[in-house]
Each structure stands twice: as C-alpha cells, then as structure tokens.
C-alpha cells in the first residue's frame, strides 16, 4: 500500500474530515470527489501519482483499459534537444518497459520532426506543434515530460500528474533550472537534462513523489490591503 504522507491533510484526517471538511469513509469523502485509502491518506483518481495505490485497492475507476499516455510539452519554446531524445529508441524502449503505450509530443516552435509510428507492439508516437490549451492532454496523460517553464510545471502539478521536468541546457540565462531543482528537492517532480532523461525514466519511482498543494495569493492581498489602510476583512 502506498505510504504517501500529506502532513497538512493528515492533520485534518486525524479530525475525521477531508480537506474540504467532508466526512471520511473507507472509499470517498461525501463532499469532494477525492478517493481516500483505508488509512485515510488522500489519494486521487486514476492517471495520477497514486495509481499504484488505487491498483492496490483493487478498484479501477475508468473503463478504458491499457492506454497509458506519456505527454511531452515544450510550451511556446523551441526545445529540439528534448523532442529528439524523447524520440530516441532508447527512451521509447524504456517507456515501453515501464508500461506506457502512447507518446504524444507537443513540439512548439521546434524544427525536429518526430517519427510518427504506431501498432505492432511498439510505442505509438504522435505529435503536434501548438494547441490553445494543453489541459485536456495533461488530464489524459499518465506521465508528463515538460520543459522547465513555470506555467507548464504548475499546470501539471495542479492536476496531480507525475512530472519529469527537463531543463534546456542551451538557454542563455537558465534561471528556470532553479525552480525545477527546488521542486525536485521537495520531491514534487523529477528533474533531468536531455542526456540524463533515459536514466531518470528507468530509475524513477512515481509513488515516492509528493503531491503539490495549490498556492494561495491571499497573504499578498491581506498585506496589500493592510498597507493601503483598509480595515481587516
């Protein structure tokens, strides 16, 4: 059984309610649609970090069997190095070994075209340049491999998807790597570079990733209001 620890959630769990104040049952909270394991640890629905836990509970939430998509995104940038390495036989074989069936690449402004393929038991590969919103692709992915843009990172984390962030070594002022490294240190995602991606995929343990709690802008609003002389509340 997964032993994921959510300290904040656990405090509330000890009081017998989920994050939104609903009562815990062995399977689900009566307020939110989140699923709780029998020990009261918060887990999420399928295609998330805690798939293994769900599998351990012997329950499968969706009817579509077997399709596990790896979604690769480079945002609005050009990151040929990532697209190339993801399209390499090594990485594709490794993904197949880890149980993934499909590879969908959003390649942005890059010029390297992946080799589309499918069928005959190998990884099914498809790609596109841009879309107005990648939220749907993120939602239906089992694993996300993304460039280190903060927008892509947080959009993925907020959906509770396992994430490998690949830092672009060709960027001049690489402050992006700071964010990826910090979040990797806090165990919310894995961080890699194009040469080390294959190794990261081979050795990753997605069950060990910690969920990311969405941020909160109200402390800023409070301080701004107080500074401007508005009364509290």
């Amino acid at each position: 059984m997964g032993s994921i620890v959510f300290t904040r959630i656990q405090n509330q769990v000890q009081n017998g309610c989920c994050r939104r104040g609903g009562k815990l049952s062995t399977r689900s909270c009566n307020l939110c649609t989140r699923v709780h394991c029998v020990e009261g640890h918060l887990v999420r629905t399928e295609h998330s970090v805690f798939e293994a836990v769900i599998d351990g509970m012997g329950e499968s939430k969706d009817g579509v069997k077997g399709k596990r998509v790896v979604f690769v995104t480079v945002g609005t940038t050009c990151f040929d190095a990532l697209v190339k390495v993801v399209d390499s036989q090594q990485v594709k074989d490794e993904l197949l070994t880890r149980g993934y069936t499909n590879l969908l690449i959003q390649m942005g402004r890059g010029s390297y075209l992946p080799k589309s393929s499918g069928g005959d038991g190998s990884l099914a590969v498809d790609y596109f340049t841009f879309s107005s919103s990648i939220a749907d692709h993120l939602r239906s992915a089992s694993l996300v491999i993304s460039h280190a843009g903060s927008g892509s990172i947080f959009e993925t984390l907020q959906l509770g998807k396992p994430l490998i962030v690949v830092v672009n070594e060709d960027l001049m002022d690489n402050h992006q790597s700071e964010l990826a490294e910090e979040l990797a240190e806090r165990r919310h995602l894995y961080c890699a570079r194009p040469p080390t991606l294959c190794q990261t995929i081979a050795s990753m343990d997605l069950k060990s990733l910690l969920p990311y709690s969405p941020g909160d802008a109200t402390p800023v609003a409070k301080l701004v209001n107080r500074f401007l002389g508005f009364p509290e509340g």
Binding site: S150, E178, E182, A217, V220, F227
Partner: protein, 234 residues
C-alpha cells in the same frame, strides 16, 4: 554716489541664477530623500468603501498567470478603475486580462459597467537584443511610459517581474517626488525565482522604489530581508 552704471541687477543675476539653481537641486534632493523615507511606510487608515485606481503590469507567459491569480483575491470594487499594460509584442496577456474582466462583468450583469482599460507599451528591450540598440529603445519606451502614466496617474501599481514594469515604476517614483500622485508600488517576484532575484526585482529592491516587495520562496527572504515572504502563489 553710485559705483555701478547700467542695470543695478547685472552683478546680481549670475549669483541669483546660481543660488536659485542650488536651491532647486536642494529641494529636489530633500524631496527625494523624503519619498525614499516614506516609501514602504503603510498609508493612513481609510474607509473600506474607498476606491483606488490601479495599474496592473502584465508580462508574457507565467507572469500573467501569476498576476491573474493575485487579481482573483483582490476586491474588485476596491481596486477600480483598473488599467492593464502589456508589452506591444505580447499578444496573449491582454487577451487573458480581457477574458478575466469580461467574466467579472458577466457575473455582475449590468450593475456596474466594466471599469478596465487595456493598453500596450513599447518594450525597452526584446529578448536577445543588443545592449547598444537597447539604449535607444529604452528611451522610446520610457517616453511612451511617461505618456501613459500621465494619463493614468494610478494610486496603486501591481507588477511581478517583466522588464516593462521598470520604466513605469521609475516614473511612478518621479511622480511621488514631483507631487503629481502618490502611488503605492507593490512588486511580487515571480515564482520561478527561487535563489536569485530577476533584474527588475533587483532594481526595484535596491533602489527602494517598491513600497512592498514580495517573494515566494524563503531563500530569497533570507537574502533580501526587506522582502515579505508570502509563499507560492501558484
């Protein structure tokens, strides 16, 4: 008997000129010191019904997403009218702001008209532009910023990192010195800045132009003690 011939002020005017000039510079300096002293000091209490005209500076990508997150928790009827400025080459940000304002207007359905304006400003420097040509483009951008600021004269400025905010904040500071408008400048450093400040952040922090400076990671608060640590916004 008079020693001087001609205009009795002829000896006086150079001295008078210099005296006036020195007095003027002194007044400006004193005023600048006063503004720096008052910057960062909370304003006097005001009634909750008061409104403050607000300038919101948008930047590409993650900047706008973070700013929108902040706007969602600010009282819309307090921070109004709202003026959004984005760089001329940034197409997405103003669109996102428009969508946000429209959704607010929809939810109020006819009670209040939309009190938001959307403007574009020339960029000081494009990504990768040479620093030599940047001098000229920064001057153009600053002139444009001056024109916009004179029109808006905001009481509150919200910005979170893009270079577009620097000319605007500097002009807001100058307005404080001259006495055109006292605007409170709030700067939220981007969530992507964990260990080092961005160039915009560094300028606004060191020059003490921002009234309140927010950082999202504790490492930055330790390095820059006058900053407020507010945790992650995203």
């Amino acid at each position: 008997m008079e020693k001087n011939t001609g205009c009795p002020f002829s000896n006086l005017s150079p001295n008078l000129g210099i005296t006036c000039f020195v007095a003027f510079i002194t007044v400006i300096l004193v005023r600048v010191l006063y503004v720096i002293y008052r910057t960062g000091k909370p304003l006097n209490k005001r009634s909750p019904q008061q409104t403050l005209s607000t300038l919101i500076v948008l930047g590409s990508g993650g900047h706008t997403a973070e700013m929108i997150n902040l706007l969602l928790v600010l009282q819309k009827d307090r921070f109004t009218p709202r003026f959004y400025i984005a760089a001329a080459t940034d197409n997405m940000s103003l669109q996102k702001a428009r969508v946000l304002e429209n959704s607010w207007a929809d939810s109020q359905s006819g009670v209040k008209r939309i009190s938001a304006e959307f403007m574009q400003i020339y960029r000081s420097r494009e990504v990768g532009q040479s620093y030599v040509t940047s001098v000229w483009t920064t001057l153009v951008a600053t002139t444009h910023a001056l024109w916009l600021m004179i029109k808006i004269r905001p009481q509150v400025v919200l910005c979170n990192g893009p270079g577009t905010c620097i000319p605007l904040c500097v002009i807001a500071f100058i307005f404080k010195v001259i006495g055109i408008r006292w605007s409170s400048i709030f700067y939220v450093e981007s969530i992507a800045r964990v260990k080092k400040l961005s160039l915009s952040g560094l300028l606004l922090y060191k020059l003490q132009i921002a009234d309140q400076f927010f950082v999202q990671w504790p490492q930055l608060q330790r390095k820059y003690p006058r900053a407020h640590y507010v945790g992650c916004l995203m």
